[in-house]
Amino acid sequence: MQVEARTRIRQQKLRITFFGYIFVLIFFAILQVISIVFFKQGFLLSRDVSSTISYCNDTIDPCIQPTIEKTIFLVIDALRFDFVIPVEGSDKHYHNNFPILYDLAQTNPKKSTLLKFIADPPTTTLQRLKGLTTGSLPTFIDAGSNFDGDEIDEDNWLLQLYNHNKSIAFMGDDTWEALFKKYINPKYNFPYPSLNVWDIDTVDNGVLEHIYPIMEQNDWDMIIGHFLGVDHIGHRYGPNHHSMKDKLNQMNDEISKIIDKMDDKTLLVVIGDHGMDYTGNHGGDSKDELETTFFAYTKNKKFNMSPKGKEKYDISNLGSNYRSVNQVDLVPTLSLLLGIPIPHNNLGFPIDEMFKDLKIPSVKTIEQINRFRQSSPILKDTLGMPETFTIESSKSYQYQSLEHCKTLWARFDMKFIVLGVILLFFSFVFILAYSRSIPSVRVSTMSFEFIGSVIAMSLLGIVLSFSVYIVLMPQNLTLKNCIGSGVAIGMVIGFWAPIMDRFSILWLLHQIVDFFVYSFNTWSFMGLAFIVLHCLIFASNSYVIWEDKMIHFFIMTFGVGTFVSILKNPTISTNEKILGLNHSFTFLFVSRLVSMINLCREEQGGLCKPTFETTWWSIVLLHVVSFLLPLMIKSFFKLSNSFHSAGPLWINGMKFLLMLNAFYWTFEYVDNLNYFQIPSTVFKSFKLSIARIVLVISLILANYSWSRGPLCVKIDLSRPAPPEQTIPASPDEDAPELKPKATILGYGNIYGSSYFLLVINFSIAVMLVSKPLGAVAIAGLLIQILSFLEIIDLLNLRRNLVSPIIFGLLGYQHFFSSGHQATIPSIHWDVGFMTTENIIFPITHLNIFLNTFGSFIIICLSLPLITLWKIPPTNKPITALSQIITVITSLITYQTLISLSSFIFTAHFRRHLMVWKIFAPRFMLNGLLLVVINVILIFLSLWFGTGKVLTQVNRIFGK
């Protein structure tokens, strides 16, 4: 009875300590999220949107007479400029398959014009459509809302047409509908879902189905059609794929058909909204992403274009010297041709070729630009109108104005940036003290003091900041920001109050000095060196570009270090030494192998050869891995004698699911190959069902069964049993000699083997969504983790600083090796459609999340194994728990420091040429990573994983 009561008390104590930790960490995560949000607000500034609308005043400022009555406006998404011009001797699928535009411009230069069209970054469809209709420069912050396009509230030519009682027909990409629904004639509104990048034909066929019947009607003034096929082929297969040839040919035929059918009054405009890079993606600002196409054609006898000399249209060298115009120039051109006012926010200038006499259009345009500048408080009186109105001076005025706006709208709000950095710094100092300075025994007893003071102080912060807001009414500070900073500062104070209550700063500094004096060895030096070097990476764009190679170098340095250390360690027996060297070599070898899988970022240029492609050998490799990986994991389990009961069940399940995964990608590959002429729908249903089965089993069923507490042990009844592995018989039971002794196989790794099953669950889900080579890299990660755990056990690195750091580095290494880079275009949007055909909120996003952060999810989950791997059941679960907390908070400290460093350097380099290309995406990755790592560590690793495994094992074995 007494024993039972004691056990119960102990379990209760464990539970209380456990939740104490969790709540402290949750509060800490909230503090970090607030600081990241503040920094983001200051850095990713949104542009002031003026909602003034231009109008014509018939007496003072009349609109010019329209020169065209009707317009067909076709957007072919991602139509790069070299797709439409002849490229001699090229056998690429995307060259020479869309000749009609160039041919018409050559044969009939008075009636048609083909120009290179320069997009403004960011080259995402939503931003481009805003730019093409308002004539303004949508900023980066809008890029995030591409998934649910906002309604536009700026002046634009659709609004102007609507106000002039024109009828707009629309068909195609539903981004238009999201932006302009009010202005489109509801009779002729045919939107199609745009983000399903695996669907190549639906949108295009929809457009073609509706455009011809509408053209025959008379009640329209503008037809807008948006084709998505070219873009989707780029995303799905890359530009050089045979379906690109078919698609471009189809576009060619349809454009010529439209030209045949259109009447004399109509102007046809064909444009691309952006280009695509060599992988078929877009979003950045490389030349290939920016260069797209502008084409105009009419049969109107009275309408003549004014082409420039032939030398301006030079198609040699993929048209790099071809005459180009900006995308914003479309807006005044179209407005003036249609006889509507130029939208208020326009920054562009009419395109020369489209006007016989540019004088009146240019006057109208610079008047409008001047009006816009005068109405904006920031731009007012900064740039004088030209004194004499020549076309050249107008052009230079417009150019200066455009450049001025470009620099201005990249302005940053330093107060939020500094606030974010300061808050993050304080969170870093706290977590450093929490993880390393304060003894872990003390930390475990202080949880509730932290919780109490953090809640009290943040409430006080809310009250104070609210009263400050009410009483002082600070300008340029919204209520949300005011309260947010109040809460954050309150939380910082709340975290520090109990620490200051118990310890002094001097004492804490002493602890750090003690660390260097007593527990400092080569390994902790290595860990610290890696942290410092990783932080310094953000000081130079070159190192950010080559971060993948640097991370690999760090990991290999550590690996070679373990190899040498095991080799020269005299305390390890020869057998163990050979085994250890084997683990160390496996770690090194696998690491080198997966480092050969990479996706190059544009800035790496010719020095990087991309290997992350879905080819036949990657499929073969995936099949081999799906067979080998379970075998390897099994052998690791056998090493600690834990391949029992739940072990085989999980490994067999894993084998089955990995096989399904391999089949999924085989179907995908065969489908893309288009070799057997099997209709896509057959594959589609197969693939959807496989993906759903694998994800549901691995994420839901397997985790549910895991939460029931599977153990990898077996009771072995045998007479001669090694004494240290037997449970000592209870004293009241006599005659143990007669009974066979019970040995528990797998006793020595009881926590680790059970916990690793959880890692397997998530790894399977991550491997499914990671594309074939990504899955191979993730398999490598699992092997690396297991060998690393064995090395930790052998070299006794459990409590060393280096272990969590290496886990963090492994996460980064496999972020890169599973086909990612810290750039926007390298996000694998297409995996979102593996389980559903359309965008369904959590599922599509879950896939992309698993794909992008897969390696980090796995390393965060495996982190408690540093403590749990190969330890027998302990009667002091709280000690084990506090060690796990140390490990977890060490990783959080590491990532906080990395994020802090990248925040500071990104803010410092905010005027750097490369800031939007290199530093800003890297800082976004770091901000997201900090949140993801916090969430996964708290909820999955600690709450779900560690909580279950500790209570389960201690319920059975704890006495």
Partner: protein, 223 residues
């Protein structure tokens, strides 16, 4: 003159003196053994245009290095502590110096493997990497072999219990460690976008290994 064996097992042969197996041999004259040849060869390689023709000049440098390392090995041998004159006569100097060159050349293969593992390019520059491995291997292994006089068991016992302090106290071991660390640091300038010819693989690592070794010996002159 009868042929003498180079001893592999010191304990069994030496009965007179008590075996000082865990004592690291050290240099008695640090000025004589200053590896001044390393910066000279390095300068020579740059003089002959390593930045424009990496392979040719590295081969040239390697042959020079082999010759110079023989002399350097002899200087170490003459100035190493531990044995009296009588003992020294028993050593086979020719075999010792020959193996101090030949063994590192064979060991350059494992070094090559490590360099590849650490992330050297696999698809190209293999010959340059191999040459780098040969240079590094000669720089770091030749002095060790001469220092321990091919006594592997002594070497392995010392290695098992070595710590940073005893490395710091020994000029040659410190130079070797400095050379390895400097070679490691040699990768740092490569990613910078300065587009300088000396950023080519593996020039910076080569410079690191040469200068690291030299500086390691140089600072021991003063400390």
């Amino acid at each position: 003159m009868a042929r003498r064996k180079v001893t592999f097992d010191k304990v069994s042969e030496d009965e007179v003196e008590p075996p000082k197996i865990d004592e690291i041999p050290f240099l008695t004259n640090k000025i004589m053994t200053l590896p001044i040849h390393l910066p000279i060869i390095l300068y020579g390689m740059f003089y002959y245009g390593i930045t424009s023709d990496v392979q040719q000049v590295m081969v040239k440098g390697l042959t020079t290095l082999i010759m110079a390392q023989i002399v350097y090995g002899y200087l170490i041998y003459v100035n190493v502590s531990g044995d009296g004159k009588k003992k020294k006569n028993k050593d086979n100097l020719f075999l010792l110096l020959a193996s101090s060159i030949i063994i590192p050349i064979f060991l350059s293969l494992p070094v090559f493997g490590i360099v590849i593992l650490m992330g050297a390019p696999l698809a190209s520059h293999l010959y340059e990497t191999l040459l780098l491995a040969a240079h590094v291997s000669l720089i770091i292994f030749t002095p060790v072999i001469v220092l321990f006089k091919l006594n592997f068991s002594k070497f392995s016992i010392i290695v098992q219990k070595i710590d940073l302090k005893s490395i710091w106290n020994n000029s040659i071991l410190l130079s070797i460690l400095a050379s390895i660390i400097a070679t490691w640091c040699g990768v740092i300038p490569i990613p910078l976008d300065w587009d300088r010819p000396w950023q080519n693989w593996p020039i910076t690592l080569l410079v690191g290994s040469y200068l690291g070794y030299f500086l390691g010996s140089f600072i021991k002159l003063f400390i």
